[in-house]
């Protein structure tokens, strides 16, 4: 019954996609229903796994079955994947419900198209998670990339959106290339891509192999999970409808990289190089994105960069071997980041697609539910106990400390920045006075039930989500940890004295709280954000990374293409080819003048040719030798 999980979204996609002019209500029912169905099944599966351990690998049919290797279209449901199934289908369902109302203004066929894309996305994501080998994972991997492309460019009339979509796809493609090469490496060394076989035969791989494979795979993760240097697509991806951002660019797709690394922990744990790379890239991204987030004015951009930064945290966790922590954070992050995005969506919805926080403020009284839930989200992401974010982030930081205190320090700084920009956002959006136009003000209203319900549910999850993995220090028994143990075999276990552990927590929380207070103090006093200058300007312009990329990679390539097209191809190669023809014509025009129509000269030439023949004969030996040498 595993195959049912992806089957329902697929059906939903086909129904909504092929019959384009269904009524909105029907579309919504199909769209949400399919996800709900697979959610139910996922739950069943989850509890099966919980009780009976991982299910056996189910092979549907041979996908590529040739002499050198055999790749099945197989599904693998174990602790890890079942957990992700829950997250995907659960959060996915909520967001579908949310979308029914959020996208209600769209034309019928576009509405259907939207849900078709969304279902297709869920399908590919499930494929990614369920796949029992890297190839199937890669199929889902590129599938989700495609869906994000389609959904970012959902409003295809707007060219800038299309560019954003294209950028997302291409950057993902860069990562995918790395992923693909990694798979090739695996196949050429082990002749298999099944997780179980690979992890069983890691012994056959030399250290270089492992490092190469893991690094290549991680490049794939960089692309998908928006890590330095391939992160720039994610903020632009905010061009898509907000629910999409919530689902794809916050809750699920971007965590695919974490899933992949966690899934192949057996490999990563064998290569120190790879682990450090992951950790460093992770922490670097976390800080870098956080700095940028501080100066963004677009509500979704802020959230986007915070997502990038949070993903950085997760990779930090992976890098330091706290796989559970990372997965844990994925879960909690899914809750609160989805919550935040949906909240932002509700806000945007309320004030007619205004996304700039400079023209918001004082929404507290207009959107109470949104306000509360959003606040919860902020607290959760800032890591304030007892909200879910606290537990997951704390686990990562603790592991980081155990690995290398420097990581921890940086992590805490990042946490502080996170708290700061989140509450900057909160304050400028909900507190103070409304700074928008009058008629916007008049239309301000709380969003309908279809929007608020998901907010509410997610809020609840964001609050209690953390308790699934209460660490021992609080007398918890880190349930998730134990649950995932069979998969995350190489989790590196560290011992911290409980006092030190407490100390770490206190410090991080304190930093967060201080940051929050500063933010509130700063932005309640003067919520108007002036033009940034100095460093602020640089941050506001995202460290000019896009510009640098354009200058260093995009434009040179374009120029090269133009050079090839206009110079090398036209004048160079084709010029040469045509040149041969022209040369023959020219020589023809010259040579025919020999035929001057005078008998005398004809005979003269005959006589001379006779003499030439004579000379050839006279020197025949030399000439023949010459040719012998030549050929």
């Amino acid at each position: 019954m595993v195959y049912l999980v992806p089957l329902f979204p697929l059906l939903g996609f086909l129904l909504n996609g092929l019959f384009r002019n269904l009524s909105k209500s029907l579309v919504s029912i199909i769209g949400c229903g399919s996800i709900l169905a697979s959610f139910v099944i996922s739950c069943i599966l989850f509890f099966d796994v919980r009780s009976g351990g991982a299910l056996p690998v189910q092979s549907l049919f041979p996908f590529i079955n040739i002499a050198s290797f055999k790749i099945d279209f197989a599904f693998q449901v174990d602790q890890l994947s079942s957990l992700f199934l829950l997250i995907i289908t659960g959060v996915g369902f909520l967001i579908h419900v949310y979308s029914t109302s959020y996208m209600h203004d769209e034309k019928d066929e576009h509405f259907a198209r939207y849900f078709a894309y969304l279902n297709l996305f869920v399908f590919s994501m499930l494929l990614l998670v369920l796949g029992a080998n890297y190839v199937i994972m890669f199929i889902g991997w590129e599938g989700v990339g495609l869906c994000s492309y389609l959904l970012i460019g959902y409003w295809f009339k707007n060219d800038s959106y299309n560019y954003a979509a294209k950028k997302a796809f291409v950057m993902n493609r860069i990562g995918d290339l790395g992923f693909l090469l990694g798979i090739f490496w695996l196949l050429s060394k082990l002749g298999t891509a099944n997780y179980n076989d690979v992890f069983a035969h890691t012994a056959q791989l030399s250290s270089t192999d492992i490092t190469g494979i893991t690094v290549l795979l991680f490049i794939g993760a960089m692309g998908k999970s928006a890590q330095i240097p391939l992160y720039t697509w994610l903020p632009d991806a905010m061009a898509g409808p907000t629910p999409v951002s919530a689902l794809i660019h916050a809750a699920t797709m971007v965590t695919a990289g974490i899933y992949m690394v966690a899934r192949s922990n057996a490999l990563y744990s064998l290569s120190a190089v790879a682990e450090n790379l992951v950790a460093i890239v992770g922490i670097a991204t976390a800080l870098f994105a956080a700095t940028i987030a501080i100066k963004q004015n677009d509500i979704k951009k802020v959230l986007a960069y915070s997502t990038v930064s949070q993903l950085g945290y997760m990779f930090l966790g992976l890098g330091v071997g706290a796989y559970t922590g990372a997965v844990f954070h994925v879960m909690t992050h899914a809750f609160f980041k989805a919550l935040l995005f949906l909240g932002a969506g509700s806000v945007i919805h309320a004030i007619h697609n205004q996304q700039d926080i400079r023209y918001m403020g004082g929404l507290r009284k207009y959107l109470p539910v949104t306000h509360i839930t959003f606040l919860i989200g902020c607290l959760a992401i800032s890591g304030i106990p007892p909200f879910s974010g606290f537990f997951s982030k704390d686990e990562i930081l603790a592991a980081a400390y155990a690995k290398n205190p420097v990581y921890w320090v940086l992590g805490v700084i990042g946490a502080g920045m996170t708290a700061f920009y989140m509450f900057r956002l909160y304050a400028t959006t909900f507190l103070g006075e409304f700074r928008g136009t009058e008629e916007q003000k008049n239309h301000l209203h709380e969003s309908p039930l279809a929007i608020t319900t998901p907010l509410f549910i997610l809020a609840v999850l964001a609050v209690i989500g953390g308790f699934v993995n209460v660490p021992e220090v609080f007398g918890g028994k880190s349930a998730l940890h134990n649950f995932l143990k069979p998969v995350l075999t190489t989790e590196n276990t560290f011992e911290l004295t409980s006092s030190k552990d407490y100390m770490l927590m206190v410090v991080s929380v304190a930093v967060a709280v201080i940051a929050i207070l500063i933010a509130l103090a700063k932005y309640i006093k003067k919520p108007e954000l002036g033009e940034p200058k100095g460093l602020g300007k640089v941050l506001a312009n995202k460290w000019y990374v896009d510009e640098i990329y354009n200058a260093l990679i995009v434009n040179p390539l374009a120029a090269l293409g133009a050079f090839f097209k206009n110079v090398v191809d036209k004048s160079g190669i084709d010029g040469f080819v045509n040149g041969v023809g022209t040369f023959i014509q020219y020589s023809s025009r010259r040579l025919r003048l020999v035929q001057n129509g005078k008998v005398g000269s004809y005979i003269l030439m005959m006589v001379f040719s006779l003499l030439v023949l004579w000379c050839v004969f006279w020197n025949q030996t030399y000439i023949v030798d010459f040719f012998k040498k030549l050929f």
């Binding site: 025919r592 003048l593 035929q595 001057n596 129509g597 005078k598 008998v599 005398g600 005979i603 003269l604 006589v607």
Partner: protein, 113 residues
């Protein structure tokens, strides 16, 4: 007489003929030079015939030999053919003269390139 003398003489005549063909423009003179070439060939052939005759007769003294007759017959045929050629050639030259009142080989020069 040493055969070389004859070869040289005939070749000389031949080459004079060739040169004549090359440097004269009057079709008739050119044609005459060609005839001169033919005659030099004839002379050479006869010389060779006698040379081979001498050789083979030296080979066997007592009985008469007729080596070299072929060459003289050949000369005879050359003359025959030359006569035929002359009749046609002169006819052509006359035809051309009728049309353009010239026997200059370069006068008609429409066919070129």
């Amino acid at each position: 007489m040493p055969i070389q003398y004859y070869i040289v003489l005939a070749s000389a005549l031949f080459c004079i003929g060739v040169a004549g063909v090359l440097i004269r423009r009057n079709a008739i003179i050119v044609f005459m030079c060609i005839e001169l070439m033919l005659n030099s060939v004839n002379l050479m052939l006869v010389a060779f015939s006698k040379m081979h005759y001498a050789i083979s007769s030296a080979g066997n003294k007592n009985m008469p030999v007729n080596t070299g007759t072929d060459a003289q017959i050949f000369v005879f045929f050359i003359m025959v053919v030359a006569a035929a050629e002359v009749s046609v050639g002169l006819a052509i030259i006359v035809m051309m003269y009728r049309n353009v009142h010239s026997t200059d080989v370069n006068f008609l020069n429409r066919l070129k390139n």
